[in-house]
Symmetry: C2
């Protein structure tokens, strides 16, 4: 919801003072102080205090007041379950039915199925039905993030009657700043902003001043596409429709900010090879669990690299100096591959690659790899020549760097494009994987070249 | 601006058809089709057509219509300069004065100083002054992204008089959904949403229904902090004040989305070692220029690694098999370091680390490094033993991996924290740098251990 409670304490709040009010059983004093806080600050207090303090909170806040806190809260997945279980069952169900539907669905999605069912059974029927409808939509689609608390007005309303509808809907609706116009069949036929409404003459027909070619999103649309539509067009909300253009719900800009952040943090985690990274984890064990999958996969990939290098043991045995440049070459390949990967992954995510043909990107990356490879290769050749006075060794290392950067840059952009095309889980193209792959390629190039010129080294 | 033109063609638009209207000189037909598009789609057409077509556009669109396009457009830095230079000087100045001040400032920030000065001289005095005021604020502060088109109402207004002020301000203001209440000294004393206004009785005093403890941001606040305030509190806009609490401007949610995306993409670029990555670059040369700085720095760091390894040439000479495991060990150190780095950098950026003490994060990372290092080290020892039947070599590699992951994880979180503390440009802690540093550390550990146990290998 676009928030309209603006107040907060100068310092967000004094946690210890508030908590001491609770523990000293000064409940009147606590309610007075606490309810003056912005819901976001209330939520921060609520999640920070001890379970005992939370139990007292449940006794002294109404389900409606608790609903406001839960609309503002940002918890780890398992904390939702923990906190909901602390509450009386009836109280929790009431709270859920008083939340905006989309926020209630977000909470329920973190709980297990039997728990969800038990809340829905004792909840009031209307809220339960609305929530059930939303729970059906597939995750990450427009349907799964929309809310049903919007303001719809009939086509043949006047501005005056629209304002009346609006005033009545205001306490419930997530946004009242856009009014969605529907025909008798509930099909979306137009939209008008409150801005246009309040400057219009009271007797004007809505039909004559509304925008009649509305930008809407289908209910099955990917949430990232929805986010991009709202961002590009600078909307405060966008209507969600089914294939017959029936109005089903709306998605507001605040939910879209979360989607955009989630998406960016997803790309970032992939590049770093961390399973997921929403929050700074609480303890080493959880953190280790998130990181180990990649590290173990990579250690096996690394063993393959070692195995491949084993084939060149003879070469390495004869010229030990060769080994000294392996980290340099593998590192350069890894880094240039990661650069190309990063550009391609963000290009796919932000939709920039839709227009441009993929072939064009690949050609451009090949050109980039050629330029960066050539530059670095020449520099390294010279440095090694000046430092060791070995022209052949310098050329060998420089040549390997040129080849590695060239191949790694192409691989770094080709692999994510291919994976995206084949609709495989893009996590496969994560940074560490590409880096290890480029390690292998670069070492093969280097030791292959070295073996060819071994007699001259 | 929160956008309130909702219309667009079913398919965004038919570029070729529109362009053919232009080139066939059917200007009436073009205007009719073009002005029905949403400004964002107009902007996409405008930036895609040839300079010749754009010249015709300048002749047939008013500066006001052009201003709407420029408010919606997203261009590369140098394109702003290119496009502005195409326009007649007077026309461009008129367009700038008709844009929202913050958007005009964004455009002017991309131009060189003499060009900016020349527009400001011929612009109408009031707009020029407003723009000049905003241009003074330091980049990346609240002042640099705020706009001055807000609705302010005196404290002693009634709801009725506030609505009148609102109706008059509506065509100009960036948002009319929040009204900011000021005293006779223009100090911010309250805020009220249009939602609350329209359900209030017409004779109510604003003072009695406004929120009087307003969340505002100081004009010198970092834009990321502003973005976080709007995101956390789900605001549509936030007021900007000076140190005496005078209302200077507002920042709207659509501008904040751009800040959040910029910030995330900044962290992402750093992790990938690409100088900046807003757009998929047009040609290989530009792309190479953005990537070469890191690659060249890294090739020199790589030479240091090679130099250090040179000290162990004797060891490598005696047991060539040792070299085979170098990429594995360096790779594991690099990857675990990048994981720790990513978590720390995002933690700093999203403000999650403010609460938690830094020491606590370091201790936790040390614990994580211990667990992941131990797991991977044991696995590798076993695999090498099973594969090569060499227990000592296996233990040596496994031990080096344990040590490398442990040290790399701590370094990956310690270095960004240290850099943040010292307020050095955090770009120094970019992914490739940490990876190369961890390469060096891991190789020293491995070859150091190997040299100690050389006699037994």
């Amino acid at each position: 919801m676009a928030e309209e409670r603006f107040e907060r304490e100068e310092l967000p709040f004094d946690l210890d003072f508030l908590d001491s009010l609770l523990l000293n059983e000064d409940y009147e004093g606590f309610r007075e102080e606490f309810l003056q806080l912005h819901p976001y600050d209330q939520a921060k207090f609520y999640e920070k205090v001890s379970p005992d303090s939370r139990q007292i909170i449940y006794r002294f806040l109404s389900p409606k007041e608790m609903a406001e806190i839960f609309q503002a809260i940002e918890l780890d997945n398992d904390e939702y379950e923990e906190f909901m279980k602390e509450m009386d069952h009836r109280y929790a169900a009431d709270m859920l039915s008083l939340m905006y539907t989309d926020d209630a669905v977000d909470v329920l999605n973190e709980l297990d199925k039997t728990q969800v069912a038990s809340y829905l059974t004792i909840m009031d029927q209307e809220s339960a039905q609305e929530i059930k409808d939303l729970l059906h939509y597939e995750e990450y689609t427009a349907g799964s993030i929309m809310t049903t608390e919007y303001v719809a007005i009939p086509e043949n309303s006047t501005v005056r009657s629209a304002m009346t509808i609006l005033r009545n809907a205001a306490p419930e609706a997530e946004t009242i700043y856009y009014l969605f116009v529907v025909n008798e069949d509930n099909q979306l036929t137009g939209v008008i902003s409150l801005r246009d409404l309040i400057i219009a003459d009271e007797d004007t027909l809505i039909r004559s001043i509304m925008s009649d070619r509305v930008v809407s999103v289908p209910v099955s649309e990917d949430q990232e596409e929805v986010a991009r539509t709202i961002k590009d067009y600078n909307f405060l909300a966008v209507p969600v429709v089914d294939f017959q253009n029936h109005l089903l719900g709306i998605i507001t800009v605040d939910d879209i900010i979360d989607v955009l952040e989630e998406e960016a943090s997803d790309d970032y985690s992939k590049l770093a090879g961390v399973a997921d990274m929403d929050t700074i984890d609480r303890n080493p064990l959880t953190a280790a669990k998130k990181r180990l999958p990649w590290l173990i996969i990579l250690s096996f990939l690394g063993m393959i690299t070692a195995n491949l290098m084993g084939m060149f043991e003879n070469t390495l045995d004869q010229v030990a100096l060769l080994a000294v440049f392996i980290p340099l070459i593998a590192g350069m390949a890894g880094n240039s591959g990661t650069q190309a990967l990063a550009v391609a992954v963000r290009g796919i995510a932000t939709g920039q690659l839709e227009d441009e043909s993929r072939l064009k990107l690949l050609l451009r990356e090949a050109g980039t790899g050629l330029l960066t490879g050539l530059t670095c290769g020449v520099i390294i050749t010279f440095v090694i020549y000046l430092w060791k006075h070995e022209l052949l060794l310098g050329s060998l290392v420089g040549g390997a760097i040129f080849g590695s950067i060239f191949v790694a840059t192409i691989a770094g952009s080709f692999i994510p494009l291919l994976i995206h095309r084949m609709k495989i889980d893009p996590a496969v193209a994560s940074g560490p994987f590409i880096t290890t792959l480029n390690d292998i390629i670069s070492i093969l190039i280097y030791l292959g070249l070295a073996t060819m010129f071994l007699s001259q080294l």
